[in-house]
Each structure stands twice: as C-alpha cells, then as structure tokens.
C-alpha cells in the first residue's frame, strides 16, 4: 500500500459497517482508493462488494462508519450530489433509460453533466452537446446503434452504453460493478481497452469489482479482497495472487476455472 500513497487518497471508507436485520453484510471495512489508479475489489459472491459500492455511491446508507471523498465527509450527502461532485457509477446489471435511443441515453448524461437539466425553454438539442454525444458514440463503437431503443440492445452493448454514459460525467471516481459481466471475449478486450484508455488520458480513478481474474490482473494496480464483509487482504496483483489467505478464500477456485 505504502508505495501507492501519493498524497491524499481520492476515496476512503472508514470502518464502514452495514447490517441487514441480523445479517452483517459489511464489517468495519476501511478501504483506501489512491488517486489516478485502477483499483479492484474482489471476493466471492455475497462478500459485500455491491453493498459497499452502493454505500460509496450514496444509494445505501451505512449502519456505521464514514465515507470521505476528496477530503470531504460525504456520508450524509445524497447520491445525486455525489455524482455532481465527481462520482460516477455503472451497475452490475446495466441501468440506462430503456425507452430512449442509444443517442438519447448519452445525451441525457451529457446534459446532466453540463448542468443543463434545469433549462425549461431551450430545446434539449444543443450544438455542443450533440457534438460530444456524436464523438463519444464514435469512440465507443456505438455509433451504428445510435437510433436503436436501448431496451433492444444485446447484453454486451448494454454494459458498454452504461459505461460510456458513466464516463460522460467526466468523473473523478468511476465505480464499475463487474464491467465485463456477460460479455464475449472480444467485447471484454474492447471494454478493458476502453477503461485503460480513459485512465491514460484523464486523471481518472477507477474502482471496479470483477469476477474475471484475467481482467482484474490485467487492469488493476491495487487489489483489495473482501470476504464475508471483511477485508482480508490488500496489495498489488502480484502480492494478492500469492497471499495464502486469498488463495484459500477465493482465488483457489477462481484460478482453476
């Protein structure tokens, strides 16, 4: 961890705990996400990864603990404001606007990012917005699908659309919950390239969860392992893959498959 501590980390969770009734989903999780890096959160199903994502993004309230984003305590800050502060999130099952076309989905994200959504009497079709929409469609390879209603997209394209929308917020922190889930091998490669290119240009920080270990070890510079709601290890991909506790809890089975 120490070799990655360049200045203040972008995101810190301090002893975050979440109880659902009697079930302890997260137990004093303290996670540090360094700036400008790709971090991964791994662990078996039910380890609490998605719950932690929800707490970081503001859609789930923690039972105890604090979330510090860019030096500011955001534990009580609503999700929409965290998005305005620079957090952007893609869900495990892609969420977008199903009745909109692909281009309209992207336009929605760009309008929101530019703070135009309180305009009442201007048309939503604005030159600079349309140019950005077009450019992002080209870059992501979604241009040929721009007039398709999003609900008619194939699984891989859905994930990709959501990712492109999340990126359109120019986020400081991009939260990706299994970005390659349900994708074909070639789509997976395209998506990892897209994530990497994003981090190469901007100073974007990424926190992702992923079941595909090839993707994790390919992309991530820091890996944190969650098991039964607790962090059991944290380090470089190299350290993690040799950690006996991690191999026992998770990697053993994952590496074989």
């Amino acid at each position: 961890m120490s070799d990655l501590g360049e200045g203040q980390p972008l995101l810190v969770t301090e002893n975050v705990t979440k109880r659902f009734g009697g079930f302890l989903a997260l137990d004093r999780v303290s996670l540090v996400v360094p700036r400008g890096r790709i971090s991964a959160l791994i662990g078996p199903n039910g380890a609490g990864k998605s719950t932690l994502f929800g707490i970081i993004a503001g859609s789930v309230q923690p039972s105890a603990g604090r979330i510090v984003f860019d030096g500011e305590d955001v534990t009580r800050v609503p999700g929409w404001r965290r998005a305005r502060m620079g957090m952007s999130r893609a869900f495990q099952v892609a969420r977008f606007f199903p009745s909109f076309t692909v281009a309209e989905n992207l336009r929605s994200a760009v309008l929101a990012e530019r703070g135009r959504s309180w305009q009442f009497f201007r048309s939503e079709r604005q030159g600079d917005v349309e140019r950005e929409v077009e450019q992002r469609l080209e870059e992501s390879g979604l241009a040929r699908l721009q007039d398709v209603r999003a609900e008619h997209l194939a699984q891989g394209d859905r994930k990709r659309l959501e990712l492109v929308m999340a990126m359109a917020l120019h986020p400081q922190l991009l939260l990706l919950d299994e970005p390659t889930a349900g994708m074909s091998p070639s789509e997976t490669v395209a998506t990892t390239d897209l994530i990497r290119s994003l981090c190469a240009v901007g100073d974007c920080t990424v926190l992702l969860t992923e079941h595909d270990m090839a993707v994790v070890f390919d992309l991530a510079e820091v890996v944190t392992v969650l098991n039964y709601g607790q962090i059991i290890a944290c380090g470089s991909p190299d350290q993690i893959s040799r950690d006996p506790r991690v191999v026992e809890a998770y990697l053993g089975e994952a590496m074989v498959t």
Binding site: S59, W80, R95, S108, W118, F121, D147
Partner: protein, 335 residues
C-alpha cells in the same frame, strides 16, 4: 434507416420545428372556422374539448412524462374552478382570475407534493387520492362556497369591452388560453428539464446517479402540473358557469388519466386526441343510453387491449411497419 425496432423517444415530443410551423395554419383555421360557422352546441362541444385538453395535458406531464400516477389532480383543477367562482361576482379581470387559478393550483400542489412525494409510487397514488377526496368533502359541507351545489351562475366579466359570455367569443378565448398553456407544456417537454423527467420515468436510480435530484424534479413537475390544472379548472368555471364539488371528486381525477391512455400517454399529443374522442363519446352515448359509462369503459378496454400504448401508439406502430416500408420502397424505385 427507419426499419422496425428502431424507434426514437422523440416521437413523444415532436421536435421538427419547420414542420410544426408549416402545420400551424391548420389549428388556427380550425379555431376561426368553428367560431364562424359553429352553432351553439358545436361551440359548447369544442370549448369543452379545449378545456379538457389542457387538464389532460397537465396530468400527462406527470403520468406520461415523469411516470407519476396521481389520483388527485382534480384537487388543483377544482381549486382553480373555485378561485374563479369566488372572484367572478367581484368583476375581476378574467385574465387576472385565470392567473390566480393557476397560482392557487400551483401553491396547493407545492404543499401537497412536498408531503406525498416523499413516499413510494403506490403510497403517492393513494395519498393524492386521499387529499383530493378530503378537499371534496370540505367543499361539499362548506356553505361559504355553496356546499353541495357549489357556486353557480358564474359569468366572466368583460375583457376590455369584449363580452366573454358570448359562446363564440368564449370559444376563441378558451382556444387561445389552451394553446398558450399547451405551447408552454410542449416547450417544457422538449427541454433538458423534460428530458430529465423522462429519465426519472425510465429509471429514477440511474437518473440520480447521473446527478439529477429526483425529488426536486418530481416536486417541480407536480407544481407545474397543478398550476396548469388550476388554469384548466378556471376555464372550466367560465365554460360551464359553475364550480361544484363534482369538479373535485376523484372521478374528475380519473378522466384525464383515461384520456391520456386512450390517446397515448407516451405521446405529447396523446391527450389531445384522447380528449376529442372522450368528450365526443360521452356526449353521444349519454344522449343514447343511461348506461353510457359502461360503453365508455368497454370502448376504453378494447382500445387498450388492441394497442396498449393508446391510439397514437397503434398508429405509430403501423407507420413503422407499413409506412416506412412504403417510403423505402418508393425511394428504391425512384433510383
């Protein structure tokens, strides 16, 4: 392009400005035509349609665009009607009365919305119904506003020497006010704000995670809807000459929802088409049979079963299937 499966959300809010401007003479000619040749019953029919259109459009801003089903929009409609009813005897300027109707409707919606919108969709529907019925019950028993008879014999004061009591003039006046209200709603629907409302309709969590404060947008949509419903209620009081507890009853809230579904709630003009059909159907059927409500219900059921997204939805699907094909075929042959 334009083949099946390709379908833009833009059909819900027509945006083609040159086309809309080119079509503008049609409604203008219609309003003037009805004013010139219409007899009293035709004038009354179209004036009622116009006032229904405005109410239905206001409800559909919530229902079709934001995905909020309120069963209590009659409250704001009725408040608008009573505002005009109470002011009419004081010879207040009709435009000022309508402005006040809109204001009272909007303020009431802000108060009730701030409470009811903090709940889930189902609780919201029930609470709006409860508030609406409570208001109905109060006016029904309050002698100061005429009790169960309401305020009768409302005659709008003259507008700069123009007598609004004249059916022809009242028709033109109503058509102009409704057009302004509809234009306002159309502007809002095609704006980034309107887009944000449809984002919330499709997936509120996704909208929130893109930085949209969902509660504030819903509340604002609710206030806008209440203000336009109040305006429609004010017009209703002018047209019908009464402000009665009936205008606050829950069935008055249900009508615009049925009208929107009939015409196509996903389409901006759905409630316009729905209003014409609904008012015409109730007029004709209620003269033919006492069981007219049954036939209205049956007709509604058939339309919704055949085309779940209303008449415009059905037309749109037929256009995608046959119209665009004919167009493509024509192009190919021309080449």
């Amino acid at each position: 392009m334009g083949s099946q499966g390709i379908h833009s959300d833009l059909v819900s809010v027509p945006q083609n400005r040159p086309l809309l401007v080119a079509l503008l003479p049609i409604p203008v000619a219609f309003v003037v035509g009805v004013a010139l040749v219409g007899n009293t019953s035709q004038l009354y029919f179209w004036t009622t349609v116009a006032e229904t259109v405005l109410f239905a459009l206001s409800v559909n801003l919530l229902f079709g665009q934001t995905g909020m089903l309120s069963f209590g929009q009659a409250a704001y409609f009725g408040i608008g009607a009573y505002t005009v009813g109470l002011l009419a005897s004081h010879q207040v300027n009709p435009l000022a009365m309508l402005a006040l109707s809109s204001l009272t409707g909007g303020v009431a919606a802000a108060l009730i919305g701030a409470v009811t919108l903090r709940t889930t969709a189902l609780v919201f529907a029930m609470l709006t119904l409860a508030f609406g019925q409570a208001l109905y019950s109060v006016t029904f028993h309050l002698q100061a506003v005429g009790g169960e008879n309401g305020i009768v014999g409302i005659v709008p004061a003259g507008l700069g020497g123009i007598d609004l009591g004249q059916p022809r003039i009242l028709w033109v006046f109503t058509a102009v006010v409704v057009s302004i209200g509809a234009f306002f709603l159309w502007m809002v629907s095609r704006s980034p704000f309107g887009r944000a409302l449809r984002m919330i309709r499709d997936d509120a969590t996704r909208a929130e995670m893109l930085g949209i404060p969902v509660f504030r947008y819903r509340l604002f949509a609710f206030v806008l809807s209440g203000a336009i419903a109040g305006l429609a209620g004010g017009l209703y009081a002018f047209v019908q000459g009464v402000a009665s507890p009936d205008s606050l009853f829950w069935t008055t809230s249900g009508e615009p929802v049925i009208i929107s579904l009939l015409g196509g709630a996903r389409f901006f003009y759905g409630p316009v088409l729905g209003s014409v059909i609904y008012v015409a159907a109730t007029d004709t059927l209620s003269q033919m049979t006492p069981a007219w409500i049954f036939w209205i219900g049956l007709g509604f059921l058939i339309v919704v079963l055949l085309s779940p997204d209303g008449i415009l939805g059905g037309v749109h699907r037929l256009w995608l299937r046959y119209g665009t094909r004919a167009l493509d075929g024509g192009r190919r042959r021309a080449r």
